[in-house]
């Protein structure tokens, strides 16, 4: 099998890589590009730990081929903070202890950021349904949902 050459943008950086035709975007990110912030919890799109954005839309990177990234803008957890300035969601997750083990946190943050871009004033129910594809086994989701809604409120106030 010959490898495929792919040109894409990852967190705003022009990136090129070679990948196998059957290689997932998640494997490319983790094994070829050293971006191990996206996690593999299931490999079947059920847990959301590998969530990235593709042109702003949340996607399970374990369900997308690396070759499909050609020409698209990929966003991962590594691109969420701007330099040393954390995204307000990241700050809020720390302040409100919205993580325990932290394995689901990157995927949840990526998905939550997309939620707030899409809907700056989500209700609790909207937040819960938006994040229903991101499993967390430690927290029972309570502090996660609160942190996302509190961030939304802060961001609305600030804007």
């Amino acid at each position: 099998m010959s490898q495929i050459h792919v040109t894409t943008s990852i967190n705003g950086d022009q990136t090129e890589f070679l990948c196998e035709p059957d290689e997932t975007l998640l494997d490319v990110l983790r094994d070829r590009l050293g971006l191990t912030g996206s996690k593999e919890g299931c490999g079947t799109g059920d847990c959301g730990a590998c969530s990235v954005t593709v042109d702003g839309r949340v996607v399970c990177s374990c369900l997308m081929l690396g070759a499909e990234a050609e020409g698209h803008d990929i966003g991962t957890i590594e691109g969420m903070a701007e330099g040393d300035k954390l995204h307000p969601l990241q700050e809020k997750f720390l302040q409100e202890a919205a993580l325990q083990c932290g394995i689901c946190t990157p995927g949840i943050l990526v998905a939550a950021k997309a939620l707030l871009e899409h809907n700056p004033a989500p209700t609790e129910e909207e937040t819960r349904y938006w994040l229903a594809g991101n499993l967390c086994r430690c927290t029972g989701y309570d502090k996660i949902i609160r942190a996302v809604m509190d961030t939304a409120e802060d961001m609305r106030r600030a804007s």
């Binding site: 059920d46 997750f93 202890a97 932290g102 394995i103 129910e125």
Partner: protein
């Protein structure tokens, strides 16, 4: 270590606050390195070949075709492991099958290759000749004398003769006279309750990176709840000396007891030894579900008698737990904890440990206790409601308190059960109105909490900041707790202390992160290590001042002269003492090594409202409140987090989660789509009430909090669903089809 007298009234400066955890930034930016995030130069990929049969004799394994595939560097089977000590035999046999494959997914061979793709192809080329054998996966079926036997000669002397060899052991606890007690009752409930096997469901699959050289030295990186245990177990399995194997714990993506043993690690080491290269292994989700530890499934008979004014006259439970293909189900813990919340004159439990053709169970949060509490708390609820009594009042009437002889033997010191019940009774949740089709349930739960071997090393750096090294993987924020306890004890700000998890070469033996022991035991060792450092710093200050060290005390982060003969000296801060450490004798550190004792038992009461849809059988959790005794909440946010997480795992166990085996003995739902853990949209907020009844065995009064929270939910939810559906639910999970069937059969 006793509770400090002054802790009862003490004004803590750091304990009880909610600082940001030290590993926080790494975890919100994707920088944290978990098990699968490590690499090594020249690294190979390891892959396991697993049995498709639930029970089969392994006649022959031929790896020649796999070994001939370009890129394959090593294949190992059981033949690559020598004789091992008896206490690790089952662990090895579970990691790599010997004569028989004992469950669907049991490892039979493994390969290391230059890429994941080659490893995958090579595993398929390994030829295994199986002789399939009859199998059994149900606990009650496995006890029948005619059931297929997994092992011969494993039965303990505690089991009466004539039973199936699948019955491994029997335990009994209790006191008093059950029949006499039941005779005093106005009503006796006698029922059988069943729970399905559930998986811990940590989101991070097992992963490790092993590197072993021809000199016999090895390094291992893995996600585990106890890297010292991994070291000791792997060394025994591979015939190594413990000192030659250094294990580093990665960040751990959840464990809940499931990472208190080894699965891949000995195999990766064996592959690395054979290939002469580092080997990385990562399980897929289906491997996690098929071949790493779920908890036991259970079948429990209960008989409880009560007078019409709500006094329990006798409690009896016979518990049957299957723990998969090897001895060691947590039925003993279930038998000890079943009636632990109650002060009973007549109580007895009998537990049976059974083997079946399922994966070897691993500990799961308060192992064994939730199933036992489900049975007992359901029966108590049924009795209370049958007499028209308030279920909280009935529990208050029978609840254990200081001085109660526990159902498992000892007499309780100060405990918090009554406080949780009183808090529940006065909480607005208890008096809130319920709608049509809704029900409210309550239940109590108990867990022992542990101590055990613990080491902490606390170092004062030259600039006066402090590093703490401890040996217990941080699974839910414990580095924050240790940092807080060190800062509190030293009288310095939280941000001047940094806590790390040291590798096995850096500290002495440490027990696993289990039994809700870490905040208690490692906290205790951290406090004592800080006290040792303070004593040394006082001694240094005394040298400088030219006075007796007895005349120096430590207060607010500084040494101060004290007493009639101390003289007038300005305080010397920690930083000032650190700066002149070289001039006063050398670097300053405090360390503490202990087999920690005095862990305080913990109790919780849970309250839940549900709505049952009578057309679909679906249950919605409307409201949930946890009341639990924490002893002393060091970081209240993470205490709440433990309460909430345990409750939601319990919700999954009660309503959805279930290992489903077909008649073929193969696991039918090895993925998160069909093994459905609770998702955000299934749940309401989980309210928490932290009670603080100090543990007499810890300087600050800390009790473990991690496990108790999964004990009450199964029964609390079953009691609520039973009320809402108008029919008593006795089998978990209460999935929609089960609820519909129960409603139909009335």
């Amino acid at each position: 270590m006793a509770l400090d007298d002054r802790s009862k009234t003490r004004d803590f400066k750091v304990i009880g606050t909610r600082p940001v955890r030290p590993d926080g930034i790494d975890k919100v930016t994707g920088r944290a390195k978990f098990g699968a995030d490590a690499t090594a130069p020249g690294m190979l990929t390891g892959r396991v070949l697993r049995s498709p049969h639930p029970h089969a004799r392994i006649r022959r394994i031929d790896a020649s075709k796999a070994e001939a595939l370009p890129g394959v560097k090593a294949v190992v089977t059981r033949a690559d492991f020598g004789e091992v000590p008896e206490d690790v035999f089952d662990i090895l046999d579970n990691c790599m099958a010997g004569e028989k494959a004992l469950y669907d997914g049991h490892a039979v061979a493994a390969v290391a290759a230059s890429s994941p793709a080659v490893a995958k192809r090579a595993a398929k080329l390994i030829e295994v000749e199986y002789e399939p054998l009859p199998h059994v996966t149900d606990v009650d079926e496995a006890m029948k004398p005619e059931a297929p036997a997994l092992h011969e000669g494993r039965t303990e002397e505690t089991v009466p003769e004539g039973m199936s060899p699948n019955v491994i052991s029997r335990v009994q606890f209790g006191h008093g006279d059950i029949e006499a007690g039941l005779a005093q009752a106005d009503r006796v409930v006698e029922r059988t309750y069943r729970t399905a096997a559930t998986h811990q469901g940590y989101i991070e699959p097992h992963a490790c990176l092993a590197s072993m050289g021809p000199d016999g030295q090895a390094d291992l990186w893995c996600c585990t709840q106890g890297h010292y245990l991994v070291r000791n177990t792997c060394a025994a399995i591979l015939g190594m000396e413990q000192g030659q194997l250094r294990v580093t714990a990665s960040e751990i993506g959840g464990g809940f007891g499931g990472k208190t043993t080894v699965f891949l690690e000995p195999v990766a080491l064996a592959l690395s030894r054979k290939a002469g290269r580092p080997v990385k292994m990562v399980m897929s989700r289906s491997e996690v579900l098929r071949a790493s530890g779920p908890t036991a499934s259970s079948s429990v008979d209960v008989r409880i008698g009560m007078t019409k004014d709500g006094r329990i006259t006798a409690g009896f439970a016979e518990l049957r737990y299957q723990g998969g293909a090897y001895p060691g189900s947590p039925v003993d813990m279930g038998s000890m904890s079943a009636f632990a919340p109650y002060d009973l004159e007549n109580v007895r439990t009998v537990g049976w440990d059974i083997v079946t053709n399922r994966p070897k169970q691993a500990a799961y949060r308060a192992p064994g206790a939730p199933m036992a509490a489900f049975a007992v708390e359901s029966a108590i609820d049924e009795l209370a409601k049958g007499f028209g009594l308030d279920p909280l009042e009935v529990r208050l009437k029978n609840g254990a308190d200081e001085g109660t002889k526990a159902s498992y033997g000892p007499t309780y010191p100060a405990i918090g059960l009554m406080a949780t019940l009183e808090a529940a009774k006065s909480h607005p949740h208890w008096s809130a109105p319920l709608g049509k089709g809704q029900g409210r349930g309550v239940a109590c739960g108990f867990w022992f909490n542990f101590g055990g071997d613990t080491c902490v090393s606390l170092n004062i750096t030259p600039d006066g900041t402090v590093t703490v090294s401890e040996g217990n993987p941080d699974i839910g924020g414990s580095r924050a707790s240790m940092t807080m306890m060190a800062a509190e004890e030293l009288g310095i700000p939280y941000d001047q202390v940094r806590t790390i998890i040291a590798d096995t070469g850096s500290l002495g033996q440490n027990e696993v992160t289990d039994g809700s022991r870490v905040t208690f035991a490692v906290g205790l060792a951290t406090i004592e290590a800080a006290r040792n450092a303070k004593r040394e710093m006082c001694r240094r200050a005394a040298m400088v001042w030219g006075i007796d060290e007895e005349a120096v005390v430590w207060e607010d982060g500084a040494a101060r002269p004290s007493g009639p003969n101390a003289g007038e000296h300005p305080p010397m801060t920690l930083a000032e003492i650190a700066a002149i450490a070289s001039n006063t004798g050398g670097p300053i550190a405090g360390h503490y090594e202990v087999n920690a004792e005095g862990a305080g038992v913990s109790f919780a009461t849970h309250m839940v409202d549900v709505e049952v849809d009578r057309d679909t059988g679906a249950t919605k959790i409307l409201r949930y409140t946890v009341f639990q005794d924490a002893g002393k909440a060091v970081h209240p946010s993470y205490v709440e987090g433990q309460f909430q997480g345990g409750a939601v795992q319990g919700i999954g166990w009660a309503l959805n989660e279930e290992y489903i085996y077909g008649d073929d003995g193969v696991l039918q739902n090895p993925g998160f789509l069909d093994y459905r853990v609770p998702v955000a949209s299934d749940l309401p907020m989980i309210d928490t009430v932290i009670l603080e009844i100090p543990n007499p065995g810890h300087p600050y009064g800390v009790r473990g909090v991690g496990e108790t929270s999964i004990v009450p939910p199964l029964a609390a939810i079953a009691n609520a669903v039973s009320e809402a559906a108008g029919v008593r639910m006795t089998d978990l999970p209460m999935s929609p089809p089960r609820i519909l069937a129960a409603i139909e059969n009335g």
